[in-house]
Symmetry: C2
Subunit: 144 residues, 2 copies
DNA sequence: TTTTGATGTAACTATTGACATTACAACAAC
DNA sequence: GTTGTTGTAATGTCAATAGTTACATCAAAA
């Protein structure tokens, strides 16, 4: 299956924050208009990012900001913050294989180890990209 | 999100075929009993694997077998066979970002390139594991 | 040639997860 | 207090996955 669009929306939001915070107050309405989504969806996303220590959100007066420099926010940080997968497992196992069959009995142990290694490699690749990198690419694109 | 369990079921099925084909006729009922799923689900899965040239299925008399050696079937082959994702894209983009916002206008181009690279690394990791590897692990487990 | 046992596939249902939407209480600054 | 915003619950919609039933199709054996 696919990784839900929450990751790309979260990156979109963080890039907007970094790019526009000198000129605009960053409200959920403002972000929702750029993403083209419902403000409530953005607020929920911001809550997840806030719980992970990635952003700060001001309640009464309104406005969101990053909680640390863009160069210290990796795609893996964001992925872990917004993809609320049970146990952080990328691959989903079929439940209840037949324990009377030797394959059914051991498939989880055997395949699980291999899939965990593959997931580690994916996470390693995600860790190598920061919001700062995306921001630089974005500014280059806008400059053209 | 998660990757659907079809990948793990497919691996389970292929390991069963390799392990039991000397002693049993491999029917969808036999496989369904080990996986603990409905035979129709297994048949649909076998159709996908067959379309990818991974297995052969005999119609009248019944029975499935691998179409090539286990050492030449990688997790990536299986993943591509059973995960019918549009364009094979692991990461799912939010549709319709606001083109009037510079971030909305360029997010797909900018982020897409980075995500494609990450996906390539995932696929590289999946390509490194074959059914033969899983089978060896399985036999070691069973031997204990 | 008929029987047998399996596959291939359509149709329908149930379940789940993501997301949209509405509504409103809680809150901070003016 | 007024105002504009966030935090969050409740509900609806949609797509994907998978379970289930039913049956036509098929190949081989009797």
């Amino acid at each position: 299956m696919q990784i839900a669009s929450r990751l790309t929306v979260a990156v979109h939001v963080l890039v907007c924050i970094e790019l526009f915070k000198p000129d605009h107050k960053i409200t959920s309405d403002f972000l929702a208009s750029s993403v083209n989504a419902n403000p409530v969806v953005i607020r929920r996303l911001l809550q997840q990012l806030k719980a992970a220590g990635i952003v700060r959100v001001l309640r009464g007066t309104g406005g969101a900001d990053t909680a640390r420099p863009a160069s210290e926010i990796t795609l893996l940080d964001i992925y872990r913050a917004v993809e609320c997968v049970e146990g952080g497992e990328l691959f989903h196992f079929h439940e209840n294989p037949n324990p009377l069959c030797p394959v059914g009995k051991h498939i989880h142990t055997v395949l699980g180890g291999r899939l965990a290694q593959i997931q580690r490699e994916l996470e390693h690749a995600m860790e190598a990209v920061t919001i700062q990198d995306i921001l630089a690419d974005m500014q280059a694109q806008i400059g053209q």
